[in-house]
C-alpha cells in the first residue's frame, strides 16, 4: 500500500492505495465519484478523461499513485455545486451533443483541454482535438457544434 495525497474537485484526500490501482477506479470505487465512467480497457475511448494538474488525461491509463500530490478535476467539479452548468456543459445540452451520455464527461473534459490550447478552433481542429474520444451515438456533428459554440462564448467573454 502507498499513501497518496490528492485533491479532487477541490477536496483534499489522503488514502492508502495499491500501487496498481488505476486512477479511474480510485475516483469511482474509493471516492464514489462515479461521474467519470469507463468505456474500454485499452485507452482508446476517452470516456474516463479527467484533468490532472491542468492537462487532460485518460484516467484508465494513469495509476492513482501517479496522481499523488496532484490536483484532479472531473466532470463533477465543473459548474456550480447546485447544478449550474459551465459553458461546455451548457453547449452540449443546447446543441444536442449527447444521446446516451456515456462518452459525455470525457468528451467535455477533452474539449476543455482543447479550448485551453486553442481558444478559437476551426471545425477541423475540433475534430482532430477530440480524436481520442469515441462517441457511438451522435456521429460527432453536434459535438463539434457544441465545442465551437463554447469557444465563441469564451471569445465573447474575453472581449
Amino acid at each position: 500500500m502507498n499513501r497518496i495525497s490528492v485533491t479532487v474537485d477541490g477536496v483534499a484526500y489522503q488514502d492508502d492505495v495499491e500501487p496498481r490501482l488505476l486512477l479511474v477506479h480510485y475516483l469511482r470505487d474509493r471516492l464514489g465519484l462515479t461521474g467519470t465512467p469507463i468505456g474500454c480497457d485499452t485507452g482508446s475511448c476517452g470516456a474516463c478523461t479527467v484533468e490532472l494538474d491542468g492537462r487532460s488525461v485518460k484516467s484508465c491509463s494513469v495509476l492513482a499513485v501517479q496522481a499523488d500530490g496532484g490536483e484532479v478535476t472531473t466532470v463533477q467539479g465543473l459548474g456550480a455545486p447546485t447544478g449550474g452548468l459551465d459553458s461546455l456543459q451548457r453547449a452540449f445540452h443546447e446543441k444536442h451533443a449527447l444521446q446516451c451520455g456515456y462518452c459525455t464527461p470525457g468528451m467535455i473534459m477533452a474539449a476543455r483541454d482543447l479550448l485551453r490550447e486553442n481558444p478559437d478552433p476551426t471545425p477541423d481542429e475540433v475534430r482532430h482535438g477530440l480524436e481520442g474520444n469515441l462517441c457511438r451515438c451522435t456521429g460527432y456533428q453536434n459535438i463539434v457544434q457544441a465545442v465551437l459554440a463554447a469557444a465563441r462564448e469564451g471569445q465573447e467573454a474575453r472581449t
Binding site: Y102, C135, R136, G139
Partner: protein, 821 residues
Amino acid sequence: MTAGPADRTHEREVGRARARKEDAHLVTGQTTWTDNISVPGMLHMAVLRSPMAHARIDRVDVPPALERPGVVAAFSGRDLADGLASMPCVWPVTEDIVMPDHPPVAVDEVRYAGDPVAVVIARDRYAAADALEAVDVDYTPLEPVLDLEAALAEGAPLVHADKGTNRCYVWPLTTGEDWDAVRARADVVVSRRFLQQRLIPNAMEPRAVVVMPIAASGEYTMYSATQIPHIVRVLMAMVTGIPEQKLRVIAPDVGGGFGSKLQVYGEEAVALAVARTLGRPVKWTESRSEGYLATHHGRGQIQDVQVAATRDGKLLGLKVDLLADMGAYLMLITPGTPLLGAFMYPAIYKMDAYAFTCTGVFTTRTPTDAYRGAGRPEATFAIERMMDELAAELGMDPLELRRRNWIRHDEFPYTSIAGLTYDSGDYEAATEKALALFGYEGMRAEQQERVRRGDPVRLGIGISTYTEMCGVAPSRVLRDLRYAAGGWETANVRMLPTGKVEVVTGTSPHGQGHVTCWSQIAADVLGVPFEDVEVVHGDTRAAPQGMDTYGSRSLVVGGTAVHEAAQKVVEKARRIAAHLLEAGEDDLDFAEGVFSVKGSPDARRTIQEIAFEAFSSHDLPDGMEPTIHADHVVDPDNFSYPHGTHLCAVDVDTETGHTRIRSYVCVDDVGRVVNPVIVEGQVHGGLAQGIGQALYEEAVYDADGNLTSGTMADYLVPSAVDLPEFTTERTETPATTNPLGVKGVGEAGTIASTPAVVNAIVDALRPLGVTDVPMPCTPERVWRAIRQARGEEDAAPTDRRPEGTVPTTGQAPAPSEEGLA
C-alpha cells in the same frame, strides 16, 4: 414554429426543437450507470472464458481460486447447471429449426473463444479478476467451424455434435411469378456475391449487472444495462425459476445499445443464481475486450443476389440466397435477425418475381443477433448495390434506373412483392430535394472532367434510395413469423393532485430522448406545460408492463400509446368538467388545457382543477370511478416505412487506395416529427454506424477461431476525424397508420448509408474495371481491387482474412451469369 388556428397562444409542442430534459444529469456526471451502483456487502463477479474456439472440457477445478485473498466463492458450469435452464431463444423461425442447448456457463464443451467456463466471486473487482488464473481447466481441442459453406458440407466438424448438422434452418419466401420463368425471359441478369462482415456493436457503456437479493423473502432486484428490462424479467424468471412477481428489473441510465442490449445474457442469469446461493448482492461489469467476445455481434452473412431486368431497365425479378452466421448458440432473436431483411430486399421497387432463401449456419464464433437495423441494412445494401450494378450493365444513370422502377407517390398505399403494404411515401420528393442539395449534375460533370484529365484521385457518386420496415410490430404478424411474444406497447398517463403529470411508458430509452418526446406529446394533448410532465420508465415495478426499445418502435408504438392514453385522460376529465359546469359533455370545448361551455367562455375549468376534483372526489358524477388516470395499449396494424434518398461523394486516391467522403447529403422522410433536433441526432448517429460498416469496421477471426480484432485498439470505431459533416434534410409524408403520423427513425441512417458509400467508391473506380470492393473498404482493399481489375493481382484476397474462412465479396462473378442473356 407554427401554431394551429385554434391554438394561437400555446405553442404546439409536437414539432418543436426542444432541448432534452434528459441532459442535466448526464452533462454533470450525476448518473446512475449500472456499474456506478454499490451497496453494502456487495461482491464482485469475474468470468473465466474459453481461450479456444472449440474444445471439450475435461476438467474444471475451481477450489484453488478459493485460496486467493478476498475470494468468497467460485463456480464451474456444472456447479451452476442445476439452478439454471438453457438460455432462451424466442424466435424458432421454422418448425424443424435446430435449437441447441445453451448453458449460461459451459459444462461439457466450449464453442467460441469467450464462452464462459467458470465464475469467481470476490470482495472487489481486482481480487475477482486475479483469482481467475487459479481456476484450472483442462481442454481437448476440437476442430473450429468458421467457413459458412464448408460448415454445410458432408463430414464437416460439428459445432453441436448431438444435432448432427451445422444447418440451423432453411427459411424460404417466394412470391409473385416463378423466378426461373422470369429469369428466362429477361434481357439482362446480374449476379453478385456480397459479404456482410461481422460487426461489433460497441455501445459506449459496457454491459453490467447488479443483483440485490432479500434472501428471507426470496425477492430480487436486478439492475442491468439492458434495452429490455421487461423482457429480461419474464425470461430470467423462466431461466432461474425465481417467481416473476418476486423479481424486479431496473434499467437505470443505459449507455447505448444498438441491439447489443436487446438480449438476455448468461451473465444476468448467473448473477441472479450466485446472489441466490450466497444471499449477498453481486455485481458483474464486463471489460471492453471481454465484451468483444461475450456481447453478441451483428451482421455476418454471405449474400448471393441476382436481378433480372429488361434492356430498357424494367426490373423483372430478384433472387436472394443467404447464408447467415448464427455463431455458436441461438440467443434471443439470433435466427430471426436475417429474416427481418427478407421482406426488404425488394425495397422501393416494383417487380414480378421474388425468391428468397436464408440458411442459418452454426459456427464456433460469438453468437450473432440484432445490431442497428438487424437484417434490413444487409437487404438494403444488396438491393442498392445491385441497382448500381444493373445500371452499369445497362449503361444507364443509376438514378434513372431507380426512377423507372420505384413506387410512384400516386401508387400508395402499395403492397410490395414481399407482401408488405407501404402506407405512404414520396420517393420523388425526397430525391429531388437531395439532388438539389447535393448538386448532382455538377458532381457528374466534375467526375467526367477528372477522368478526362487523368486525375489519380477519382470522384465517385453513390446513391441509396432506401425504405425500411420498423415500428415493430403487429402481434399477429409476429405470430405468423413464429416469434414468441407480441409487439404492443403501453402507456399510463396520470394527473397528480397538484396538476402535474406523470407518463409511465413501457419503452426503455438509452439515449433516444423519450422523456423529452413523450413530454411533448402529452403536453399537447392535455394542454399542460412541457415542464409539468415527467416520464417514468425502465423499472418493472414503476412501469410494470412494456415491450421495451428496439426496431425503431418506441415513438411509433409507444409514443402512440402515450397519445391515446392522454386522450383518455381528457375524456375522463371532460365528464367531471361537464358535471361541475352543469353542461353536456358535447357542449364543452377543450383547448389549451381548459374546458369551457360553448357560447359561455366564462364557464370554465382547467384540467388541473379537474385533476384535483378527481383526487378529492367530493363531487363526481354518479357512478364515476374517482380517477382520471388512463392506460392504453397499442398493438399496431402495420409496420412503419420511413424512406429517403442518400447521396455520397467520395474522393478515392487510386495510388494509395484512400477514400475520403467529400459530401454526404440525405433527405429522410420519417413522417411527422415530434422533435426535429432529436430526429437529426438519430440520423447523424445512424449514418456514422452505416459508414463505419462501409469503411472501417470488421470483427476479424484467425484460422483457429480467435477474435483478432479483440480490443477497441484493433477494431476501428470511427472517431470525429473519420467522419464528414453531414447535410441532413427531411420531407414529411405522414404515416397513415398511427394518429401522430410518425415513422421510425432510429435505424434509418444506418440502413441507408452503407450502400451509398460503397456505391460511391465503386462508381469512382468503375472506369478502371472495378465492380466491387469488399467491406470494410480499407485503403488496402481499394488498392487491391484496382490491381485485380488491371490483372496485376489474383482475385483471391491476401489481406487479414485467412484461407478457409468465408470468401470475400468482389470475386468475379461467373461469366455465364453476367451480361446480356
